[in-house]
Amino acid sequence: METFFLIVIVLLIFLVIFQISKASEYVSILKGEEKAMKQSNKINGFLMIAFLILGLVGVWYCNKLYYPGNLFSWGAASKEGLVIDKLMWTAIYITGSVFFVTQILLFGFAYKYQYSDKRKALYYAHNNTLEFIWTSVPAITLTILIIIGLKYWFKFTGDAPKDAQLIEITGHQFAWEMRYPGKDGVLGRKNFKLTDAAMGNPLGIDWKDAASRDDVHVPTTMYVIVNKPVKLVIHSQDVIHDVGLPAFRMKMDAVPGMPTTMFFTPIYTTKEMKEKTGNPDFEYEIVCDQLCGKGHFSMKGIVKVVSELEYKAWFRNQKPAFKKAQEAALSAMNEAEPPVEAEVTNELALEK
């Protein structure tokens, strides 16, 4: 019923507008086109300046509503992000001032130079000095922006710091998986053809590589240490995903068949951020930033930034993925052929 009334109201409004418009056309013929043009010109000229002023008020009001509490307004939560924030502020100042100047000129000119009998338009076809100014000034400004931008671009996309903690993150429809190297600090080899979730190897880890035996697999949540760089090695199992870390200002695609990397240094623990934002539910969220299918919007991960002590306590409780795979293989065997000795299972799991 509500929809019906809405439609009727819209149609009525339309009808009124059409009638007015038609009437105004007849009036303009009666009055003479010249006069009607002048009248509508006046109205539109006024609307131009009104739009400019209301628009500027709107810009201010929108900022008032949506800047405080915005994730950007908290400042970046990573060392690298702080630099990106600084670059963004530079961009805001430069493009912002150009925005205000040009929009004011545009609508201001439209208002000021609206048609008048008394004025004659100036025949002004070119001026090389002016052209030179507005070619060279933007070119120089942009060059400066490019130089600053690229300096950091090479830094952020270059090698991660030597002391960085290595974590592998793998995306699949529609979840994230983390893998930590064990004490050896090396991630074991992977081969997608070994993937077998039923046998406890959803990531396709090659157990033949000794380095893989102490790797730890944790779904969804990533634990990292505050103030210590993190190096992510990013994989995808099916389609392209993207590890997006808005609070750290970082992002990198997960591409099947082509591991990518990214590093960042968190500077606030999750707990500190909860206080800083005044939001007890605050979490560092991992968003998927590349359309990956119908569950794209639900592909959420969490980064827990903790102190080194907390991290060690947490890591001690993790079971290596290899152990889990053994158990899975064992129970699979038990289902198939109940009495099987543990050693055999072990070997089978190794071959897998």
């Binding site: 929809t3 339309f14 949506y66 997608f192 099916d238 808005p246």
Partner: protein, 605 residues
């Protein structure tokens, strides 16, 4: 063969003045040869326009539906089930449908409305009329161009009706998502039809583009030097050149993707485990596809924007009663944009995993392309400065175009900077940017063109008051929709999400999402003011008379034809051109048509 007949008639007509009288009394034309399989560039242009408008309504409607999901995620709308059936059970659109709508909105608006509807309409209509030719260089090929577009439209439309739904992988159709039916419902049969449709569309664009360039180079009337071309024509020429050089690359991507889908090749596939199934493909590169796609994908935004810039230049100059400022700089910046736009494509791929060194090269070129864009804006502003501005609906939309182009263009400086892009890539910031700069802005260019050339197209006037109301509602809504999205963007809110309620980081935007959706619905409804005005005026609008056949007091050639020109455009000889097209307010004259010889005491501009 009616087509051959038409072709023959055309060739006779173009043979020259001696038999030009011929154009006056046509061979008897049946309904089919006049309105359907017509080789008259003006009819083909009208076909492009009407088809484009129909697509715009469909594409716009899709955006309304997915905005309803975003704005009112908890509400149900039973009428949606009436339309979409099983895809919107209980009045809530499904995730699959949501992604189909998003994909189709992008595809339809970018390709079918802003490429075919804008450049197809105005290139066809204005090129022969403004350069002084009787028709295109190859009218039959021109007709084919429309009919390939029509075929593409039919295939695209029918793809919405297959049981697994239309394509839902985004208009950028990145594999492996678009290559594997297992990855999404919308990557099954709907995707095949989508690819076939794009294939046909590319054929249409190539046929059209070759024709536009050939016509502009070869068929200008006497005295119409390249430096005397209206800027519209320059923009259409560069648009066509861009299309010819880049669409074939997209074609290759489409064909290779088809091979990957059906012939077991591995161009874009490697190391994939999907739904527990291990695929045999090894060695392919999804990033390769992105290079192929964006090699067209980026120039595509200029294919969309250049004609709007051309139209704006023409309309701003005419209605400011002033010559366009810096004609050669305008042509030069068209050239610069065309060249640079072909070497900036990978700025869409800064975080795709490609070599970071490439990223630096593409940052450089991307920020450089801002220079010719800035030149254009300052030139439009100077054209208005000390003018005597008449606010026709076309002029309003052109001013709107400049405003939106500034707003959206400036944020391009953020996104083009690779380091900043790391944070705002694929967020709402990006949506705000490209909708303002090439989406809404180009729509404004298209509206401006329609309001301006409607009298020439249909021999009648559109209602001005409706035009004014249409403009003010549309520009206000455009800013209400896309301005606040910048705030969502800097917060890192990702695009193409079905629902944000589960995300702590973006909860503060719940109210804003509703607000944007309402603004989008109002904007959509307001477009019916235009659509009604358009179709009503075709039949019932005030007639253009011979005395009033140059209503905007324009200098260009198209206004020297009869009020409603027939096939062949000029009944007698094609007029000769003696001056550039921007002699407004020169000396004590309000305007001097291009056909008037330069006086003894008068210098060229």
């Amino acid at each position: 063969m009616t087509n051959e007949e038409a072709l023959q008639q055309h060739s006779q007509v173009t043979q020259g003045a001696a038999i030009a009288v011929h154009a006056d009394h046509h061979h008897k034309q049946s309904f089919i040869t006049k309105y359907i399989f017509s080789t008259d560039h003006k009819m083909i242009s009208r076909q492009f326009l009407v088809t484009g408008i129909i697509w715009a309504v469909i594409g716009g409607f899709f955006s309304v539906v997915f905005r309803m999901q975003l704005g009112f995620p908890d509400q149900t709308f039973p009428w949606l089930e009436t339309i979409f059936g099983k895809w919107a059970e209980g009045g809530r659109i499904s995730q699959d449908l949501y992604y189909t709508l998003v994909t189709m909105h992008g595809t339809i608006l970018v390709f079918f409305v802003l490429t075919a509807g804008l450049s197809g309409t105005f290139s066809n209509f204005l090129i022969p009329l403004q350069i002084g030719a009787r028709d295109m260089a190859a009218p039959f090929v021109n007709m084919l161009s429309y009919w390939f577009f029509f075929a593409a439209s039919i295939v695209m439309f029918s793809s919405l009706f297959v049981s697994t739904g239309g394509s839902s992988v985004g208009w950028t159709f990145y594999p492996p998502l678009s290559a594997l039916g297992e990855a999404a419902e919308g990557a099954k049969a709907g995707m095949d039809l989508w690819l076939i449709s794009i294939f046909l569309f590319i054929v249409s664009q190539l046929l059209g583009g070759l024709n536009y360039v050939a016509t502009i180079i070869n068929m200008r009337t006497k005295g119409m030097f390249m430096t005397r071309l209206p800027l519209t024509i320059w923009s259409f020429m560069f648009t066509a050149i861009l299309g010819i050089l880049t669409f074939p690359v997209l074609l290759s991507a489409v064909v290779l993707l088809m091979f990957d889908r059906h012939l077991g090749t591995s161009f874009f596939l490697s190391d994939i485990v999907i739904n527990g199934k291990i695929l045999p493909n090894e060695g392919g590169s999804p990033v390769l596809f992105q290079h192929l796609f964006w090699f067209l994908g980026h120039p595509e935004v200029y294919i969309v924007a250049l004609p709007a810039m051309g139209i704006t230049s023409e309309v701003v100059s005419t209605n400011s009663r002033k010559p366009i400022f810096g004609y050669m700089a305008m042509v030069g910046s068209f050239f610069a944009i065309t060249t640079l736009s072909m070497i900036v494509w990978a700025h869409h791929m800064f975080v795709s995993g490609m070599n970071p060194f490439l990223g630096s090269v593409f940052t450089l070129f991307t920020l450089l392309i801002a220079v010719p864009s800035a030149i254009k804006v300052f030139n439009w502003l100077t054209t208005m400065w000390r003018g005597n501005i008449i606010f026709t609906p076309a002029m309003l939309f052109s001013i709107g175009f400049v405003s939106l182009f500034i707003s959206g263009g400036l944020t391009g400086i953020w996104l083009g900077n690779a380091t900043i892009d790391i944070h705002i890539h694929d967020t709402y910031f990006n949506i705000a940017h490209f909708h303002l700069v090439m989406g809404v802005a180009s729509m404004f260019g298209m509206f401006s063109g329609i309001y301006h050339w409607f009298p020439k197209m249909f021999g009648r006037f559109m209602n001005k008051t409706l035009g004014y109301i249409h403009f003010w509602i549309t520009i206000i809504c455009a800013y209400l929709i896309f301005w606040p999205m910048h705030y969502q963007g800097i917060a890192g809110m990702p695009r193409r999400y079905f629902d944000y309620s589960n995300w702590e980081s973006f909860k503060m935007f719940e109210g804003l999402n509703t607000f944007i959706s309402i603004a989008a619905i109002v904007a959509f409804i307001a477009q019916f003011l235009f659509i009604f005005n358009f179709f009503y005026s075709i039949y019932k609008g005030r007639k253009v008379t011979e005395e009033n056949k140059n209503p905007w007091k324009s200098t260009t050639l198209e206004w020297s034809t009869p009020a409603l020109p027939g096939h062949g455009n000029w009944p007698g000889e094609i007029p000769e051109v003696h001056r550039w097209p921007y002699d407004y307010s020169k000396g004590d004259r309000d305007f001097i048509p291009q056909t008037e010889p330069i006086g003894a005491d008068e210098g060229e501009h």
